[in-house]
Subunit: 386 residues, 2 copies
């Protein structure tokens, strides 16, 4: 833990089959007006919407609704929510859905009372938030982004074709999050496996950087092993509570600052995928998988020892009598086999990318890098291989 | 994650070489009177006492001192602190030291304004705390108990020869904790390795229980591997910052609720050691090591698959062509070799236990159990073997 850090995570997690029972008591801590934010109606089909509305009504809350939050939430949608918050003096934004809905809720929270253009201030210039923040809470229905217990908020601005992520400090984190793994049972397999690769990618972005020995890397290896183990079960048995509950908690941890403390990190896969997503609107996890394979097959040579460790500690590759290069590549091969076993899409053409888009994506990608800082030309090569 | 859970951990951690720089700013959040609680003077020798006093004075705080907090803090000492808190209207209890000092600070926090006998209410009857709680903060100088980021408070009552642990809810957790690994450099090797086994034991108590597949077990395996790796380095090079910083953060995590979420747990080693400690006043980690070896060599047969996993995943035992029994025992042998390599005491006679004490310890031990609930007779056999 060579790099100094500050860590604070005040979110209360209610986890399990009966977690929703805790909502009523939590609502006592907030005022009367609730913005109920959700997506395109899956929670109405599942019955969760009715349950939540019933609890809110029994607590004598006034409900204001923001529906239709999309997979890549737009700044336009954020502004729609911000107007509702101001116009109704909302006391709590209750996000019911996956990471997109929660990300959007946080964006509304910091934007509602922002003077000036929030997009420019908070997602482009990364200014500290000095205006009033509206408390956010969440009921999670999709495991993947960890937004339920962190400050992350990824927003797409269609006017400028830019998808930007911002990590807000702990006063913007959800005050409480309700995690019932059963809510994820009805998710289509496509979204489930996209979420699974999303959480793995979060861990790999933190892992593949640095030459030092740091406790966080050992935790990441453990968490990746748990995800891989449970993912294989969940793909065959989507209603296996043990596997789905492990995946749900793993996704919360995977994108939690606690897993990457004191580490230099990479995040180049996310940077490329964010621009791929801005152009194709593809599922985030699928985009990450498609980028990861060619990206890691290119950069492993610049962080060889770490890729050897990844192969042996995460994927159980037997290294007896093999060169480091062989072991490292066998680790990436093992990941590709896992991607295929789970039915995760790993070809960006299947995600809607066209030949013409690739230079546009490459040239608009933010260049970070863990073991190697890429050039736009290298990004283009990786996109072509993807 | 089959067992429902609630998780909340609001402690802010300032970690690293410059962590003390954050104290002044934090002090602004509290009133004028600080109870400075510490041990038997090590912080005066190291110079930390002078640094802290200087920051407190520069912040115009009134300092009330409670010194001489012992390795197994007594209820008598808690009452001494509680009187100081009431008499001086203390606004913040700042614990500077190891787990004993912080445990004592939390005990003072909940006892100062308790009506009736706090020992009986909070450590015997485990009543919820409904009286005023005085905020606690800590500056950690010894890695081991994790008290800097949890609600644990182990107190010894000499009148009744009982050492009892209580985990208080998150409003009793330290508000902030300052962790500078350099503060642990001057610790005698004896205390360092005692702390190392303490953190390992916390993880094993959580690990050795349950037959289900749960993410927390994978995290524990990762953390144990990091501790083992760094401990071997720190024993040879006590001033190796990388190793000591990994150990410091590992100890915070090891005794944090986050590592054992959704798990049934054991804690029998701690129960036996608490009574060993009440009779011998031995270093906690040494007592745990001495109990662990005969205890695990007895109970492994009741949780064989988990002990096989422990051997292969934590200690790297090669299981090719071996029976489960052999692999399990080789794992415990590997732990014993590690204990010896680190110079951890593993014989209770060397810790001051006499033949006559053993039945008294066995008969006063609380019986919990992960894979097997022991009888007092079995505890006595384990003590004899230790």
């Amino acid at each position: 833990m060579n790099i100094d850090f500050t860590y604070k995570n005040p979110t209360t997690i209610y986890f399990g089959k009966n977690a929703l029972d805790k909502l009523k008591n939590e609502l006592n801590n907030y005022g009367d007006t609730i913005l109920l934010a959700y997506g395109k109606g899956a929670i109405k089909k599942s019955g969760l919407y009715d349950q939540v509305v019933s609890i809110l009504r029994n607590s004598n809350k006034t409900i204001v609704e923001l529906s239709g939050i999309m997979a890549n939430p737009t700044y336009e949608k954020v502004m729609e929510g911000a107007k509702l918050v101001r116009g109704n003096n909302v006391d709590l934004i209750l996000a019911v859905g996956g990471g997109s809905v929660i990300d959007c809720a946080k964006a509304i929270s910091v934007s509602a009372y922002c003077e000036g253009d929030a997009w420019s201030r908070y997602w482009i210039k990364f200014e500290p938030v000095d205006n009033k923040i509206v408390p956010v809470a969440s009921i999670l229905t999709l495991a993947g982004t960890g937004s339920e217990m962190n400050g992350g908020s990824v927003i797409t601005n269609n006017d400028v074709k830019l998808k930007m992520g911002r990590v807000f400090p702990s006063n913007v984190y959800p005050k409480f999050s309700i995690l019932n793994p059963e809510y994820t049972f009805t998710l289509p397999a496509y979204q489930m496996v996209s979420g699974i690769f999303d959480m793995m990618s979060h861990l790999m972005e933190a892992y593949f950087s640095g030459e030092d020995d740091v406790t966080s890397d050992y935790l990441i290896e453990g968490l990746l092993r748990s995800i891989i183990h449970s993912a294989k079960i969940a793909v065959k048995e989507p209603q296996n509570y043990e596997a789905r509950s492990n995946l749900m908690w793993s996704s919360t941890l995977a994108m939690n600052p606690i897993m990457g403390l004191s580490k230099t990190q990479d995040w180049e896969v996310h940077m490329i995928e964010h621009q791929l997503g801005a152009y194709t609107d593809c599922a985030h996890g699928m985009g990450l998988a498609a980028i990861s394979l060619p990206y890691y097959r290119y950069i492993y040579q610049f962080g060889l020892d770490k890729f050897v460790r990844f192969a042996t500690q995460v994927w159980g590759v037997d290294d007896t009598g093999k060169s480091k290069e062989t072991v490292a590549l066998e680790g990436i091969d093992a990941m590709e086999a896992f991607i295929n076993e789970c039915g995760i899409v790993s070809n960006i053409k299947d995600l809607g990318a066209t030949e013409e888009m690739l230079p546009l994506i490459a040239n608009s990608t933010v260049l970070l890098g863990g073991y190697k800082k890429l050039t736009a030309t290298e990004v283009l090569e990786i996109l072509k291989a993807a």
